[in-house]
């Protein structure tokens, strides 16, 4: 004796299942009617791209374009996007990857140490970089609070969003930029740390990742968000009401790319394509600073990607391994200590 209720529910569920079955094969694209880059059954090679989260929109354009070229014909793609550290750890733990790209060098070094990426990955002409960017201030449209300089961030009542540096690569770049500009590119460490300490006091919440911090900001929280310049452009292209300011002193962000040791030949061809003009132009359109000199020059000629007068690099601060130990080591890092202290002083 099956009641009406149960009969109806079973019917509904069966319909769902039937729908799923006839909906055909799913694919990787998340736009209505979008193309499936996996290449289906007749792919002669499949490349696995494991990337950090933000350039998904760009690779969604680059990959199909690559598949139209002679080198890319018949190459299927499997893509995975997520937080840079997560992705790097996943590859170390067994996630298949042929081409990897991360937003901080330690995430790449992890794979070199694990023997998955060759040590020579950054000796290429582009030094292992696929794009660069700078740390910028993302503000509300029209910049109502007139936030232009690092000192503006410390004005009373200004709420700054930056993610947690222990789970987000983006946050490390942000804090390094903050430290670097106050310490004159590392020459005055105490001044740098003092600034960072004051800055942290203006941060109401530390999201897990750069993207989450951006979502948080566009969701209405905070007055200014520290982020990559291209995140602001991407948000604008996606219809968010934001503006951005590139401060005079800021750090140059390096985005790395490499192929893994076990990758097939097609991986190198994909890498070459990603560094070529058409692909680099797409990066530029989304706000990433291309490493291809010609594309960069053309963009600058159009007024994009201004050069901040006080631009400094991570090398000037000592390079990633030194910086990671000195600032971000969970037990001994100076910024780690600042974070903890800040927590104590605001706790009830």
């Amino acid at each position: 004796m099956i009641s009406q209720h149960v009969r109806k529910t079973v019917l509904a569920l069966l319909t769902l299942v039937a729908l799923a079955a006839v909906a055909g094969c799913g694919g990787s694209s998340d736009t209505a009617g979008g193309s499936d880059v996996s290449g289906g059954g007749d792919a002669k090679t499949t490349l696995s791209l494991v990337a950090y989260s933000t350039p998904e929109v760009v690779y969604d354009e680059i990959i199909p374009a690559f598949q139209q070229t002679a080198a890319g014909k018949g190459v299927g793609f499997k893509t995975s996007y997520g937080a840079s550290g997560d992705q790097s750890r996943a590859v170390e733990a067994g996630l298949r990857a042929d081409v990897v790209t991360f937003s901080t060098e330690p995430d790449m070094t992890r794979l070199v140490d694990a023997g998955l990426v060759d040590q020579s990955w950054n000796t290429t002409p582009n030094r292992g970089l696929v794009t660069t960017s700078v740390v910028a201030f993302v503000v509300r449209k029209g910049n109502p609070k007139h936030i232009k300089t690092w000192n503006d961030l410390l004005r009373p009542g200004v709420k700054v969003l930056t993610p947690n540096p222990f789970s987000s690569g983006a946050a490390k770049w942000n804090l390094l930029a903050a430290y670097g500009q106050a310490s004159h590119a590392g020459k005055d460490p105490q001044a740098g740390l003092d600034y960072v300490r004051k800055l942290i006091a203006h941060v109401p919440v530390q999201d897990k990742s750069g993207r989450e911090a951006l979502s948080d900001f566009t969701g209405g929280n905070g007055d200014v968000l520290l982020s990559y310049e291209y995140e602001a452009t991407t948000a604008q292209k996606k219809g968010e009401d934001v503006d951005y300011v590139v401060p005079d002193d800021t750090i140059k962000i390096n985005i790395d790319i490499a192929k893994t040791r076990a990758a097939p030949a097609a991986a190198q061809q994909f890498l070459d394509y990603v560094l070529s003009k058409p692909a680099q132009q797409r990066f530029a359109d989304w706000g990433y600073r291309p490493v291809n000199a010609a594309v960069l020059a053309a963009a600058k000629a159009r007024g994009l990607f201004p050069d901040p007068p006080g631009l400094f690099t991570i090398d000037q601060l000592g390079g990633w391994s030194k910086v990671n130990d000195q600032f971000f080591d969970v037990d001994r890092g100076s910024i780690a200590k600042l974070e903890e202290d800040a927590g104590v002083s605001t706790a009830k």
């Binding site: 919440v205 209405g220 929280n221 969970v330 927590g343 706790a347």
Partner: protein
């Protein structure tokens, strides 16, 4: 039917039974015990000293304290709210009661990430209700109240239904007031069920992740719960510390669950 044949059959049945139990226990071990023991083993990779350092760090202790406190608060509010709702559902009558009864199970069925997304929209900066409590301890409490709603209610309901009304009617006829009847007759019978439901709610709250991760802001020492702290440790390449804090969480959960079982036995004995 000869007694011998029956005995032989029961022997065969008990062999099959033993085999079934064996296979089931193997399944349980592979699925649950194996991975969890890997966590405990990993936590000891640095020796007991490193284990202790990891679980006694300021952030770990603060996270654990906040987790336990907010879970206790969740359990306490559920005791009051859950008992009230169970009472209304069993003893009251109103149109739409069956629908309301069904909806109680919604938090069981709804994915935690959807719950988290909704709570963020509802109580966050863009809230249509005009309240902004995102990234506060209150927000964490709200998320936990949502996911633990059914526990006490579903625990108390069956007991309330089974309750023998005769005692209450006898007390009434002897002149006792409602409040007294409730306090001295109804409540004592409900206590084991309430406690058991509250303990389940507590255990669930201690481990909750998906609904909190979006709305809590994870501010160390303020709104960071232990499960998110473990997540951060994994992200900071401190897997041994992550395993250590996880082991502590595991032990807390195990203790609570064993406690529930003990409560159940006490309740059963109490019945006589």
């Amino acid at each position: 039917m000869s007694a011998l044949a029956v005995t032989a059959r029961s022997a065969r049945r008990s062999h099959t039974g033993a085999l079934g139990l064996g296979v089931a226990t193997l399944y349980l071990s592979v699925i649950v015990l194996l991975p969890l023991s890997a966590v405990v083993a990993r936590s000891l990779d640095g020796g007991l000293g490193a284990f202790w350092d990891a679980v006694s760090s300021r952030q770990a202790v603060a996270a654990l304290r906040f987790t336990l406190l907010v879970s206790l608060a969740t359990a306490a509010i559920n005791v009051a709210g859950g008992t009230l709702i169970a009472w209304v559902l069993v003893r009251d009558r109103f149109p739409g009661k069956r629908i309301v009864n069904a909806l109680i199970d919604l938090p069981f069925a709804l994915p935690t990430i959807v719950a988290g997304l909704t709570l963020l929209t509802l109580y966050g900066p863009r809230s249509p209700l005009g309240i902004d409590i995102a990234y506060t301890q209150l927000a964490v409490l709200l998320a936990l109240l949502f996911v633990t709603l059914p526990f006490v209610i579903r625990s108390v309901q069956p007991v309330l239904i089974e309750l023998d009304r005769e005692m209450e009617e006898a007390a009434l006829s002897l002149g006792a007031r409602n409040a007294t009847i409730f306090r001295r007759i109804v409540l004592p019978n409900l206590v084991p069920a309430i406690l058991s439901g509250a303990a389940l709610a507590f255990a669930r709250a201690v481990g909750e992740f998906g609904s909190i991760v979006l709305i809590s802001g994870n501010i160390p020492f303020r709104t960071q719960v232990s499960s998110v702290y473990v997540f951060k440790l994994i992200e900071s390449d401190a897997p041994v510390s992550a395993a250590a804090v996880s082991t502590v969480l595991l032990l807390v959960s195990l203790a609570v669950l064993l406690g529930i079982r003990a409560l159940g036995h006490w309740g059963a004995r109490h019945d006589r």
